[in-house]
Amino acid sequence: MEKATRDAFGEVLLALGEEDEKIVSLSADLQDSTKAIHFQKKYPERFVNVGIAEQDLIGIAAGYALEGFIPIVSSFAAFMTTRPFDMIRMLASYNNLNIKIVATHSGLTVGEDGGSAQMLEDIALMRALPNMKVYCPVDAIETEKIIRAAVREDGPVYIRLARAKYPEVSDPDEPFISGRGTILRRGKDLTIVAIGYMVSRALEIAKILEKEGIEAKVVNMSSIKPIDKHMLKKCAAKNGRIVTLEEHQKIGGLGSAVCEALSEVPVSVKIIGVDDRFGQSGKPEELFKEYGLDNESILNEIRGFMKDV
């Protein structure tokens, strides 16, 4: 079953609106694409469209947060974390306000819209902010869990969603726990730590590696900040080999976070991501190939890694 994480967001936002009158939804005129539109239709008095004004969006959300509401702001990742970064830093982080920031259309799967719309730097930006939690759901099921968890906990949260449909990978009965990774496959030779769409790819890749005599553990690290340092250290101790996969720049994303967590232990970390370039127009599969994120490219990288390390 494949379902877009943004569709799951639209649904859980609506459900939360029903359950809790403190929930307000704010948008910068992209609610038809982020799917916050369902909430808008049902609870128009609790929905704010600020127009194309992301700085105003965060400021107004902060006002609602100060007044005891739970503002969930949503837009495309390319606009959500960039234009209003100062406002996110000062209002969400520095004031430690209860603002939930949901960004859809992250990564390369945005496709045809091209490089300006393919946000590959958002995790780097959000991770660096004190008080900010950073989550990346692996599928539609986990999206609901994470949004609900984010609303339950206090403080600013950044949640990275996408445009495309993701295959179902997570266990509906397992709760999401902030700061914990999920082991989806066991393996003794190396650990593949992945986020979002790359997790399902990691599982495919692990199956292929098994045939080549390489046993790969696969971890869904949907909680990027706080990251599961304990689990990572255990994985590192086992075989000293970690490969990270993300639809994000190599700089500052999941790979960097993993390296930071393991900086004091002996381990080799291969970071697989976009290599300091912007995206471009194309179909997701074409783009993955161009930027080294297709299965073939990743397998070659891992094979080389296993030989060298």
Partner: protein, 271 residues
């Protein structure tokens, strides 16, 4: 309001805030001196507040969007009774309550600020939230004139006008001077009143050092029920200290001892 009493208090608070900056050896005298009467009128007279319950739900809210002009704000807050005068000695000192820029944990301070251009949007949000709650509190946001060169202020101005937020009052400390010179030489704001009017705001232009006019402006705000209000307060940067007035060099510089003594003497002798 006893105007004479307030004018005397203003002189006293000017001396006090200059001492605060001197002790810290850093701070922003120019914009603190220009905004004093406005802050005094709000906190000591016009705003509905309870200093023993700073989070009283029905209170009027005030956002110091020009977050660097803390010396005057802190003097006024302590005068109002939010905290002891003793705290002023700890301004900008490590481990003390009164941070260099407005900080939310200080009683009486609604929002930590310090990066210009955000406060009005937050004020918009607070006002809209008030509407949603069915509350009637007023929201005041003080802006610097240099600050309104930030485009984000105009996003908020559009929102305020669009949503007809009649409980929202922006106050511009129009002292004409920013860090490196005159505001209108750097990025012209005129015609300032027309600009706000065209964004759907009720505009009131006053002498920002005249208590009577400030009171009148706030009354005008309270009477206006279909638009937000902006009070364009013509003020003097460095007001009350002859060697600081109109001078951009005193935007963010602390006086030395001799300068402090001269400045404090200004408060007793000249006026």
């Amino acid at each position: 309001m006893d105007i004479i009493k307030m004018e005397n208090l203003a002189r006293r608070l000017r001396a006090e805030l200059l001492n605060t900056i001197y002790n810290a050896k850093s701070g922003h005298p120019g914009g603190s001196l220009s905004s004093l009467e406005l802050l005094m009128t709000l906190y000591l007279h016009k705003m509905k507040i309870d200093v023993n319950n700073p989070q009283w739900e029905e209170r009027d809210r005030f956002i110091m969007s020009k977050g660097h002009a803390t010396p005057g704000l802190y003097s006024v807050l302590s005068e109002a009774g939010y905290f002891e005068k003793e705290e002023l000695k700890g301004f900008r000192r490590f481990g003390r309550m009164l941070q260099g820029h407005a900080y939310r944990s200080i009683p009486g301070v609604e929002l930590s600020t310090g990066s210009l251009g955000m406060g009005l949007s937050v004020g918009v949000g607070m006002t809209m939230a008030g509407r949603l709650k069915g509350s009637n509190y007023n929201v005041y946001v003080m802006l610097g004139d240099g600050e309104i060169q930030e485009g984000s202020v105009w996003e908020a101005a559009m929102s305020g006008g669009h949503h007809k937020l009649s409980n929202l009052c922006a106050i511009i400390d129009y002292n004409k001077v920013q860090e490196n010179g005159f505001v209108n030489d750097i990025k012209n704001l005129e015609p300032l009143d027309e600009r706000w009017r065209s964004f759907g705001w009720n505009v009131v232009v006053i002498d920002g050092h005249n208590f009577k006019e400030i009171l009148g402006a706030i009354e005008s705000f309270k009477e206006e029920d279909s638009k937000p209000t902006v009070i364009i307060a013509n003020t003097v940067k460095g007001k009350g200290v002859d060697f600081m007035e109109y001078d951009h060099n005193w935007h963010g510089k602390a006086p030395d001892l001799k300068q402090l003594e001269d400045a404090v003497a200004n408060q007793i002798v000249k006026r």
